[in-house]
């Protein structure tokens, strides 16, 4: 750490990044950080590039600090992080696809987001036009007697997002799953470069529609940090209210959907009712069922009147009534437990190594929750327990969701009780005549969303990087399914419920 501080003092002027400093480092410091990541002294938050530099953000649990390091990669390469710390592998592949910078010594150099179809290589860098014909893709080799492969997707059987799964099975048992993603890559990073703050906020809210509130908060917090402004206290509470409603709606939806994948439709029917009521209340309070565009840099779009707050109170009473019934329904149905207990086990060491956040990490003994670890407002003023388990199976992931449902119900109650009065927006001037940078780490229903952005002198977004929690969860699904039967894949997959759109960006 001291080494890093000295390095920062000696380095050439880097635009001020808030609330966490960004430091330009040399290769020696970069390599030292890789060693720390590999040794588990800190968790990788993200790895990205702007073409000229490659950036790495890490969280150090010992002092709850976030570090952002930047290494010059004008020569077109940098020492691979993924070589020693595999959670960076796919981020490095994506960085190569977008900017053409090479991770030297990486064990996996296949393209990831770029399927050869964009008509351009390295769209964020030099950009080289191509015919747009599909690239061949080599899946990892699997050898052995009696093995067969099952290709699934990108179009799946259910109403879900697209991605490709390549199963290798021995009879009924999965011996390897390899994912191929990138099908819903929409070039959000490039669309944001040069966009106004309002335009970029709209895009941030559409990175992953189920987490629109969490993304909008992460983006807004990063903008506010960069411009050194703060949203008024009432807006901060309203944001937390929306975030917890989003978490509740998604957790209920997931619990129902997991049980449905074990053919227990009764749970799905009941949970879908709860979810629908939450979405209707969200619409009544904030004008949109998913609360898209309801959080904006500087504050929130809609205030909450007293009568609408009362409606939320009624909703909470009903959720308090329903939750124990649903818990009993889940816990007492032994035929359902038969499917969930011991299925799709993710062990603690992998969850820790990959810095896996959200329900998945917490169900496997990694307790990280950005609301506690970073402690952004208003969460330090509220009391809540984070659910957890060490079992790491589908069952644990359902129970942790139940824990979080109870926690979020209490959080919403506290938020409504303590909601301060006052304005819901702060006026701000984006054009400051200086380049400014901001970052944020916000807990969505899937886990921690990392945001980093740079605002130019003219007040437009120069670059913005958003890292979905799924980056560190998708690879672990490959590990969790190993040794399970093919028929349990939907159950395992739904219990992870990773985002395709948030990952592919």
């Amino acid at each position: 750490m001291d080494l890093l501080r000295k390095e920062a003092l000696a380095s050439p002027a880097v635009p001020a990044c808030r609330p966490w400093p960004r430091m330009a480092v040399d290769q020696a410091t970069w390599r030292a950080t890789i060693n720390q990541l590999a040794a588990g002294e800190c968790d990788l938050l993200s790895l990205w590039s702007d073409g000229a530099q490659v950036h790495l953000a890490a969280f150090r649990p010992s002092d709850a600090s976030v570090q952002i390091l930047s290494l010059d990669c004008a020569g077109g390469s940098y020492p691979s992080v993924g070589r020693a710390h595999p959670s960076a592998l796919r981020l490095e592949r994506a960085t190569f696809d977008l900017y053409g910078v090479v991770a030297e010594g990486s064990s996996d150099t296949r393209r990831w987001l770029d399927h050869g179809r964009w008509g351009v290589r390295r769209p964020g860098g030099a950009g080289e036009a191509t015919a747009g014909a599909a690239d061949p893709y080599t899946f990892l080799p699997v050898e052995g007697e009696g093995l067969h492969q099952i290709p699934v997707g990108p179009v799946h059987a259910g109403v879900i997002e697209p991605g490709h799964f390549r199963f290798t099975a021995n009879g009924e048992v999965v011996v390897r799953l390899e994912e191929r993603l990138g099908f819903v890559h929409k070039g959000v990073g490039q669309l944001m470069s040069g966009a106004s703050i309002e335009g970029a906020a709209k895009l941030a809210g559409r990175v992953s529609g189920d987490s629109t509130v969490a993304y909008a908060i992460a983006f807004a917090q990063a903008v506010e940090a960069a411009l050194e402004i703060s949203a008024p206290p009432r807006a901060v509470y309203l944001r937390a209210l929306m975030a917890e409603l989003e978490r509740l709606a998604n957790h209920f939806g997931d619990i129902g959907a997991i049980c449905n994948d074990a053919s227990f439709a009764l749970m799905q029917a009941q949970c879908a009712l709860v979810r629908e009521k939450i979405l209707r209340a969200s619409k009544a309070c904030f004008g949109h069922r998913l609360m898209m565009d309801c959080v904006s840099p500087g504050g929130v779009a809609h205030d909450l009147s007293a009568d609408k707050a009362a409606c939320l109170g009624e909703l909470l009473d009903w959720i308090r009534l329903m939750t124990p019934r649903l818990i009993a329904l889940f816990g007492d149905t032994t035929s359902l437990q038969d499917r969930t207990v011991g299925t799709g086990i993710l062990n603690t060491s992998l969850a820790r190594q990959f810095g896996c956040g959200g329900v998945i990490g917490r169900a496997s003994g990694r307790e990280f929750d950005a609301r506690k670890a970073i402690g952004y407002a208003p969460y330090p003023d509220l009391s809540f327990a984070v659910g957890g388990s060490r079992d790491g199976d589908v069952d644990a992931r359902v129970w942790v969701r139940f824990d979080e449902v109870s926690a979020s119900t209490e959080l919403v109650t506290q938020i409504l009780e303590r909601m301060p009065h006052g304005p819901i927006n702060v006026e701000f001037q984006a054009r400051t005549g200086a380049v400014r940078e901001g970052a944020a780490l916000v807990e969505g229903f899937r886990g921690d969303i990392f945001a980093f952005l740079r605002i130019g002198e003219d007040g437009t977004i120069e670059s913005c990087h958003l890292r979905d929690p799924s980056w560190f969860q998708w690879p672990l699904l490959e590990a969790a399914i190993k040794g399970n039967i093919v028929a349990d894949f939907p159950l395992c997959n739904k219990s992870f419920n990773c985002s395709y759109s948030g990952h592919d960006l």
């Binding site: 399927h115 179809r117 964009w118 008509g119 351009v120 769209p123 747009g132 599909a134 990108p154 179009v155 059987a157 259910g158 109403v159 879900i160 997002e161 697209p162 990138g182 099908f183 819903v184 890559h185 929409k186 070039g187 959000v188 490039q190 669309l191 335009g199 709209k202 895009l203 559409r206 990175v207 992953s208 529609g209 189920d210 629109t212 939806g253 009764l266 029917a269 009941q270 879908a272 009712l273 979810r275 629908e276 979405l279 619409k283 069922r289 998913l290 898209m292 019934r325 329904l329 007492d332 149905t333 985002s499 395709y500 759109s501």
Partner: protein, 172 residues
Amino acid sequence: MQKFLFQGLLRRALTEPAPEPDAAAVAELGYTLGRTANRKLGRSLSIREVDAGSCNGCELEIHALNNAYYDMERFGLRFVASPRHADVLLVTGPVTKNMREALERTYNATPDPKWVVAVGDCAFNGGVFAESYACVGAVAEVIPVDLHIRGCPPDPVALLKGLIALVEGSER
């Protein structure tokens, strides 16, 4: 479990009255449906949903059509797992270039007669992603579209209105 099942027997249905078919949607459909659907398929329509690059917002609202409040199946509309079983493709997203071929192949795998409903603002014109190097844009640029249901995302009532228009249209 018995409690829930008893409740299901005794309680009034939560399902809301059917919304009127969307007049604009009926007009857009024009003669595309004609009498074919009714004559060949009866009233039921099997729907295959294809996410061609959506942010997942549209999918969440499409999912909601199956909950007890909207109960899509009472209109003879149901989701199927394969395009081979489908009469209608419900397509979302600004058609990413990486999904274009998959969408075309899904369309080609769907037997005639078939209809395509483009759901959401992205599927209409690419939405906020229209300018991207990675997106084709409107679904109509890739496969023929019979009906657009706008919205970001369209709520379940808007979806139902559009789909009911599709069913009603098939009876004319």
